[in-house]
């Protein structure tokens, strides 16, 4: 059995007195596609943000590729990471946001080469070539010179995926990537994600797209009230949910 790429053990997170994550444990193997589903406010997005340290966990541990998130081990002590060390780790984890968050003052192409050139210090011409290939892959090579405001939501999200891929991440995090899209634009983004999954990218996807989870995921995790209720293969989880809470949720969203 492979060492998991992502391992969470008893992760909890509180904002003040409000606990949004309680004792979440899960693993994602290399090449695995995992979806997290559940009602709004169940802590799915918070968990995802903890994985690349946009949020600091209040309890429990997270490991990505064998390295403890937020800490560096030296001898028998754990040292909290300095900002540039955290930044370096984040560069290896791609993240796609619900609101796209493309850099508004940069064109699609400039958005994609920003990371390679500024963070990885790649040669600009090589980065541009690679970025054009990535834009081609998400079907937007002809939109390279457009600013985000000149692109549709679906196009923006595909550029955002290309921007994340440009860093050659070992893990891709998707935070409700289609929730802010008009219904007719959801398909184009899901298609890009399906391609990625087929090519063996390790993905952790918070989503409300049950069809996508059922079709693409290797494992589906159901979260409610900050807890991981159950995890199973999609056929199992959708076809034969074991928990009352899961059944209740599925009966509402699949109705």
């Amino acid at each position: 059995m492979n060492e998991p790429l992502l391992r969470a053990v008893g992760v909890s997170k509180s904002f003040g007195a409000h606990e949004v994550l309680t004792d979440v444990s899960l693993t994602v193997a290399p090449g695995e596609v995992s979806c997290i589903i559940g009602p709004s406010g169940s802590g799915k997005s918070t968990f995802l943000r903890c994985v690349n340290h946009l949020e600091k966990v209040s309890g429990g541990q997270l490991w990505v590729d064998g390295e403890r998130v937020g800490y560096r081990r030296k001898g028998d002590k754990l040292y909290e990471l300095r900002e540039h060390e955290t930044a370096k780790r984040r560069a290896d984890i791609g993240m796609v946001f619900q609101q796209f968050n493309l850099f508004a003052h940069k064109t699609a192409l400039e958005n994609v080469i920003e990371g390679p050139v500024v963070v990885r210090r790649r040669d600009k011409r090589q980065a541009t070539e690679r970025a054009m290939a990535l834009l081609e892959r998400v079907g937007l090579a002809d939109r390279a010179g457009h600013y985000p405001s000149q692109l549709s939501g679906g196009q923006q999200q595909r550029v955002a995926i290309a921007r994340a891929l440009a860093m050659e991440p070992k893990l891709m995090l998707f935070d409700e990537p289609t929730s802010a899209l008009d219904p007719e634009l959801v398909g184009e983004v899901l298609d890009v994600m399906k391609d990625l999954a087929r090519e063996g990218m390790t993905m952790l996807v918070v989503t409300h797209e049950m069809g996508f989870a059922r079709e693409v995921a290797d494992t589906v995790h159901f979260m409610a009230d900050g807890r991981l209720v159950e995890s199973a293969a999609p056929a199992e989880l959708f076809g034969n949910p074991r928990h009352e809470r899961t059944r209740g949720f599925l009966s509402k969203v699949l109705a």
Binding site: L54, A87, Q99
Partner: protein, 292 residues
């Protein structure tokens, strides 16, 4: 039940009468009358002494004052922009000491009159006779007489620039806060440090919000710089007043000064227009030229 159908076929063929903007014609006529009356009475009023205005408009003393006004405004705004940006970033720092120090700076320099600050820097020597560089309470490596460092010009730049920096810091801070948090998060997610994200992602977008009020401040500084008269530094306004205190041609020389201030303001406004256009790249609703 019958419903009267509108006579569509006929209506399609009818000519369309656009809305008439009668108010515009009334406004245009009223403004034209007003302009002719004001300009006419100014031009024909001998007490304006336009010949004297013409005589002094390009006089050497006025031009020297004009040059100093431009120099003072440029140097003070440069100091204010750099220092104001640093103070604004300090205000938003997570380091509580830095953030409070930045707040105190803005409080102190916004809270005291610019004229007091100018006099303070000019008379610094009275408080601190020598300026030195060394270890506090320890040896000094280098020491000068304060009066040799603080000329009227350096006192003017310090007084105006440090005062303006306090206002600038608030403008820059509002600009930084106007950039959505998602931009910073996206920068973090591709592995940028907060310094990289500030320089490459946040500040360039904040500039769009910062530039218009900074244009205001710069135009204000053109005129605020006339305060340096209290420390004996001559700029445009001082030059004009020196001349009219000699020859009592007060009104014509005030007109000379006003003409130059208006000319400088026009130049700055045009510059600001192009700067704003350049910074509006990527903003929804702006048709920008697509690069590449």
């Amino acid at each position: 039940m019958t419903v009267a159908t509108p006579p569509r076929t006929q209506e399609q063929d009818l000519p369309v009468v656009p809305v008439r903007h009668g108010g515009r014609w009334v406004a245009a006529a009223a403004i034209a009358v007003l302009v002719v009356w004001v300009v006419g009475s100014m031009a024909s009023n001998e007490r304006f002494q336009w010949d004297v205005v013409g005589e002094y408009l390009f006089s050497e003393q006025i031009l020297r004052g004009l040059g100093n006004t431009v120099l003072l405004t440029f140097c003070a705004m440069l100091l204010a922009s750099v220092l104001g940006t640093i103070v604004a970033i300090g205000r938003l720092s997570e380091n509580p000491i830095v953030s409070r120090a930045a707040w105190t700076y803005a409080w102190l320099f916004r809270g005291t009159p610019a004229i007091v600050q100018l006099l303070f820097w000019f008379f610094l020597a009275a408080l601190v006779p020598t300026l030195g560089f060394g270890i506090p309470f320890g040896p000094t490596f280098f020491q000068v007489d304060t009066n040799t460092v603080i000329s009227a010009f350096t006192a003017a730049i310090l007084g105006l620039g440090l005062n303006e920096a306090a206002y600038t810091s608030e403008i820059v801070r509002s600009g930084l806060l106007s950039v959505p948090a998602g931009q910073r998060e996206a920068a973090k997610s591709i592995g940028m440090t907060s310094g990289q994200s500030l320089r490459r992602i946040v500040l360039p977008q904040a500039l769009r919000v910062i530039v218009p009020p900074m244009g205001n401040e710069t135009i204000g500084m053109l005129k605020t710089s006339s305060l340096v008269i209290v420390i004996g530094f001559t700029e445009l306004m001082t030059s004009a007043s020196q001349i009219y205190s000699r020859n009592y041609q007060t009104i014509p020389l005030l007109v000379v000064a006003a003409i130059w201030y208006l000319a400088l303001t026009a130049v700055l406004s045009i510059g600001q227009y192009f700067l704003e256009k350049r910074l509006s790249r990527g903003v929804a609703g702006q048709r920008t030229v697509v690069a590449k």
